[in-house]
Subunit: 399 residues, 2 copies
């Protein structure tokens, strides 16, 4: 299937309106998709923010008309007042746009455990509601409004053909950065499409896509209380099929890669491809362990081709393999070098392999390929380096 | 039971000889305890260093006469030559001290994947063998010789009475610092005692002690390929009993606390006591998740009483609890403050609780008590802050 990356984010889908407003550390983004079919995946953290609890109820009937998301305050661990605040956000949207508040999904991201500055958020909702448009600029403003420690807005849109030949689109925005672990911690993503599908069909497709993308992204291993991914459809194109499912995985993976690039304090991002694992679960465990290892992450920051840490992380991941059969390859955009070949170290001091490996490790985007030689399953995880700035950002976050 | 902390490390036990020599980044430590009963616990990493494989065989008969440990090179992922080098270390000890090489346990710590500088190590073994003594200085030299990125040597010794009234002793040295995760990554600990026990009795007591101490210690979440804890007994005191088991847990916990204080780049250490969990497993999962959270660790570095991160880590740990019933207390040596009480946040802006919490967070050793209100099981984990220096040390380690 051919996938064409296009501009426009969530507004790449006809009929979807978006807007975003920001004032100081608070921002509000709006997506309007009246009467759309919808599905969502939420954080698996036992501690769940109030908007997560509310939106789960809103989306239970498989339909939404709007999404409102604020940055600056997570509205988590804020008790009954927090639920009131989440409801007030939905109500403000409903009032401003003449819809039922039970059709408004709510998302929040930011500091945990502080009460929402609800008057300010309501004011921003009203401002955003006055600026709704189906335009590239509107989706861009939305993407910027939901940023917290993100350093750039994250949008993707694709156009492709369904098996019937009908043209279809998927558009998406996301916010990522810190506290991102397997099981998508502190990330929000809102996806739109025109593909015709029921809520349960969307749910199934979304779960698979999230599992292969956001759930394989590790910034610091912490999992947040606020994550959600929502997909909503205008149902104006053809029926859901495997082309759509493939496109959805590609969109989510692209967002995950962007989030890895924008991990808190990150200077480099990397991708771990575990191949020839005995089971898909083994491939996932090994890829995640390597992408999540503090020692691998600091080695990448230090441009050190420390295959020992890579192999050791695979070793404690729980995946089955024979250390004497493992191979490790490092790749940049322009070079590729095998540093461990079936358990033999090729990149030792004085070799050309080590020289190449050191050069590869200085590039901004690195691919680590680990061949477990134990089967034919594979998985990919996304990560970023662990840097002085990660420490600085998180040591100073609430001050 | 009264436990008296005494000096002397492994040499606190009569009849045990020790020595340590260091040259540049390489060190060798020796412990001689001829014909002692012994037991060990090894890394659970699938990738195991050659000395781990060798020592597992040496100790299989429940007896050893000597332990040789080197720092500077982990002898891991070094293939057949690595096993030859590990054997050469055992042989050198056996030749120098007229014992059978099958009675010599070998341990290594340091860089992974580089061949051992075996001539230098053999020279250091010979030097150490000429300096063996039963003295405080000898145990101290051993503790220093096995250091890698450790900033201080780690020794503990205790004297206590068995239930029969007989006096008994336990002595220990350890090396810790980086790459320490649950399941005791890159840590070595050698423990001596005079308590009379079979190898299987020692194994059982050691497993319990390790589980409550080293396995609850988290520096960076990575688990090494080289860890081992060996206990050996002269069997010159009374029979093993519950007083011994209790003393062994206390010794191992004290070593774990020392390792937390000396985590790579750490400026502060902390202890997480999870109380009133539904099951012991829940208590352990929650304590480890909190102690291992990068966000909690950076908050401690930044002296930020960020209970949100503590509660969020408990939330993704897998432990069962009701977020609205959780309580969190912060303690220093001199102060204690409840910051979350049955789900109610007490330490918000402008409160005395927040002021106290901020003061507590500036102390060098912090205790975090998390009450899950779900049962009566408890567990303790040990951790340290995540700092600029952790990043620096590990970004530059092999260069």
């Amino acid at each position: 299937m051919e996938l064409r990356f296009i501009r426009g984010g969530v507004c790449a889908v006809d009929g979807v309106l978006a807007a975003g407003c920001r004032e100081g550390k608070y921002g509000v983004g709006l997506i309007i998709n009246r009467g759309s079919t919808a599905a969502a995946v939420f954080t698996s953290n036992r501690v769940r923010a109030e908007p997560v609890k509310l939106t789960e109820r809103v989306i239970a009937d498989g339909s939404i008309s709007a999404i409102v998301a604020n940055s600056g305050n997570a509205n988590c661990f804020t008790g009954r007042e927090g639920m009131d605040d989440a409801r007030r956000m939905a109500r403000k949207v409903a009032e401003s746009l003449s819809m039922d508040e039970s059709e408004v999904a709510v998302a929040s991201t930011g500091v945990i455990g502080r009460r929402m500055p609800i008057d300010k958020i309501e004011f921003l909702i009203q401002s955003a509601a006055a600026q709704l448009e189906n335009s590239e600029a509107a989706s861009g403003a939305l993407a910027e409004a939901i940023m917290t420690t993100d350093t750039f807005p994250k949008e993707v849109a694709v156009e492709f053909e369904l098996e019937t030949g009908e043209k279809a689109r998927i558009g998406a925005v996301a916010k990522g950065s810190g506290m991102i672990a397997p099981n998508m911690a502190t990330m929000l993503s809102f996806i739109t499409t025109d593909v015709d599908a029921s809520s349960s069909e969307l749910t199934e497709a979304l779960r698979v896509a999230v599992d292969e993308s956001f759930n394989m992204l590790i910034v610091d291993g912490d999992e947040s209380t606020n994550d959600m991914v929502i997909i909503s459809s205008t149902r104006t194109s053809g029926r859901i099929d495997s082309n759509f499912r493939e496109a959805l995985v590609a969109v989510c993976r692209e967002l995950a890669r962007m989030m890895a690039r924008d991990g808190e304090g990150a200077t480099k991002s990397f991708q771990v491809d575990v191949v020839n694992a005995g089971t898909h679960e083994d491939a996932k465990m090994a890829a995640r362990a390597i992408a999540g290892s503090s020692l691998v992450k600091t080695a990448i920051f230090g441009a050190d081709p420390n295959w020992g840490r890579i192999v050791a992380a695979a070793g404690y991941s729980g995946a089955e393999f024979d250390p004497e059969e493992i191979s490790v390859t490092l790749e940049s955009d322009s070079e590729s070098v095998v540093i461990v070949d079936h358990g033999d170290i090729l990149a030792f001091e004085g070799t050309e392999e080590l020289e190449t490996a050191e050069r590869v490790m200085t590039s901004k985007e690195i691919r680590i390929i680990v061949d477990l030689a134990a089967g034919d399953e594979s998985a990919t995880a996304y990560g970023c380096d662990l840097t002085y700035d990660y420490v600085r950002i998180n040591a100073e976050y609430t001050t």
